[in-house]
């Protein structure tokens, strides 16, 4: 890819975005972090991101709903789901609905970095050598 990978992070726990954003920017990603699902959705309507990282359980809107909207509008976007209570059912459900991967809290910055790197490689592979 000739341009930086565009990433959106959505978690109503503000510290998640605050910690991940600088860590990922150091890797060369362009990152926007949101705590309000509706604001994130409005931004996703305006712009197609390469990778979206979203919490599943949020007060106003479910992360699954965010996933469905992204799949409809921008199917090429890789979506990584995060949750505070991991169940096998939830993991299956998110993967069946088209999520790229699923990460359970608590996680390390390194784990998220590796998963994002995998998503970025998958994007590159899909675009081919010219992408």
């Amino acid at each position: 890819m000739g341009r930086p990978i565009e990433l959106l992070i959505l978690d109503d726990e503000s510290l998640v975005g605050q910690r991940l954003k600088p860590a990922l920017e150091k890797e060369g990603y362009r990152v926007e972090a949101f705590t309000e699902p509706r604001e994130a959705l409005a931004r996703l309507e305006e712009k197609d991101f390469d990778i979206v990282v979203t919490d599943i359980r949020m007060e106003d809107l479910d992360g699954m709903e965010v996933l469905s909207r992204i799949r409809q509008k921008s199917p090429q976007t890789k979506v990584i789901m995060i949750t505070g209570y991991a169940t096998l059912e939830l993991a299956h459900e998110s993967l069946n609905k088209g999520a790229f991967d699923f990460i359970a809290k608590p996680f390390r910055i390194g784990t998220m970095r590796d998963t994002i790197l995998k998503a970025a490689k998958a994007l590159q592979d899909e675009k081919g050598p010219q992408g």
């Binding site: 726990e13 510290l15 910690r19 991940l20 600088p22 359980r57 505070g84 608590p106 390390r108 910055i109």
Partner: protein, 265 residues
Amino acid sequence: MMARSPKTLCPKTPNKSLDLSPEGLVPEIKVSETIVIQSFKNNVISALIPGFIHQINNPINNIILTLDTLMEDNMTLTPEERSQLFQEALGQANRAVDLIKTFDDFYRDTPSPENGQYIEALVDKAIRLLNHELKKQHVKIIKEISGTLPSIGPEKTVLWQVLVNLMLNSIQAMPNGGQIKISLYQLNKELRMDISDNGTGISPVYLKRIFEPYFSTKESKIGLGLPMSLGILKKIGGWLKVKSSEGRGATFSLGIPLEEKIAKI
């Protein structure tokens, strides 16, 4: 939807018993008070465990991410930035401690005196304990307090456990979200509380049997929550009633005396 068949409980201390039945409606069941209260709390706690794990994982995750930042950026952080990150990690650790304390208080027989004396504090504590369930089911809480409410004696803080159970029932009756209105007021020498939801409501057939031990409309539930709530309230001289029409929500109303009128058991 099915009612479970009555089962027999063997009280460990048959001389100390708690009457769970509203007079004239259902057969009397007497079991050990300790077993009843503990089983009641166990039922509520088991329903809250997934939510507790979810809630506690958030501050723990924040601590881990903050410590990762401190380690990864150790060489480039200014002393001020480093101090800020330590403060944030400490704040998240305190948040985890508060969550554990809320659950621990619910599980213990004697609630903490500092937050057990005021009814409004008990309501807030119940909301905190159910925070995850409220969020997950998209249920909003409306609190309506009329006038200045008196403090209640420490023996009446068991009301908190009843309140948690009633709110949990309301949340479970609203699979597609909704609202719970908690109204608190004093009438004569009673503290009154109405807990109204706009959930699925209760059919007249079930409404007649709702305080019956082991009666449940949910396969996954034992059916002791409401009879136990009634038993606990009766023990402190109170009462519990329900009004509902199918599809139009339910209102549980309770009253507890503000003067000493504790039932002897």
